[in-house]
């Protein structure tokens, strides 16, 4: 599943550590989410979307998975 976490973070000039601290998760988890290797829980997905003032469906795009099915 693609997401726009890295794009939004860099647009706002934040480091992965700063975003991790703001979300209350580890830097490694932010790296995994950005790389698409970890799908966050619903509460964390909402927290990420809220942090960047976006909706969850704008932040996380399931298009890749749907195209593969």
């Amino acid at each position: 599943m693609r997401n726009r976490v890295r794009e939004q973070r860099t647009q706002q000039g934040l480091s992965q550590s700063e975003l991790a601290a703001a979300l209350g998760v580890s830097r490694q988890t932010v790296i995994s989410i950005e790389g698409g290797r970890y799908l966050p829980s619903l509460p964390l997905a909402f927290a990420i979307a809220r942090f960047f003032d976006m909706t969850v469906d704008k932040m996380f795009d399931p298009a890749d998975e749907e195209a593969g099915t």
């Binding site: 209350g24 998760v25 580890s26 830097r27 490694q28 988890t29 829980s41 964390l44």
Partner: protein, 151 residues
């Protein structure tokens, strides 16, 4: 009980407790049991200090040592424990099977591990919600419900 201890100290305290109990078992054993007891105390003390030091570093494993995991790290730990449980059960099954084939008397520790593992699995199913689902909202209550799907 561990909640009252600072997160970074939880793993070291747990390790120290296990080491102390193991060392005490050697002391109760008597004879030259004090030698392995000292080895156990020194070994677990070193392990506990190493766990405390690692608990302050910045990696997934160190977050586990420091008891400050986020949801992803908790998931990793849960998967790792699940694998541990599976491997332990397979090893115990292999042990009990080998003992039975060998007509040996040491089959029962493996059987105990299998029994405890099986009971823990059932306890886990019960604790984590299997069987809690209620009837479906559209369960047949005697009325003919028209299907929303047009044929």
């Amino acid at each position: 009980m561990m909640r009252f201890i600072r997160p970074r100290l939880r793993k070291p305290v747990g390790i120290a407790l296990f080491g102390t109990v193991y060392a005490a078992a050697w002391l109760v054993h008597g004879g030259n049991g004090w030698v392995p007891a000292i080895v156990a105390v020194v070994g677990t003390a070193a392990f506990a200090i190493a766990a405390y030091v690692r608990g302050g570093r910045d990696s997934d494993e160190d977050a586990l040592y420091g008891s400050r995991t986020d949801e992803r790290q908790q998931l990793i730990a849960q998967r790792s424990w699940a694998l541990t449980g599976k491997v332990t059960m397979v090893a115990a099954f292999a042990g009990v099977t080998a003992a039975v084939a060998d007509r040996a008397g040491w089959w029962w520790p493996f059987a105990v591990i299998l029994a405890v593992g099986g009971f823990s699995y059932l306890l886990g199913l019960s604790n984590y919600g299997v069987g809690e689902e209620g009837p479906a909202d559209d369960a047949d209550d005697g009325h003919q419900v028209r299907s929303p799907v047009k044929r």
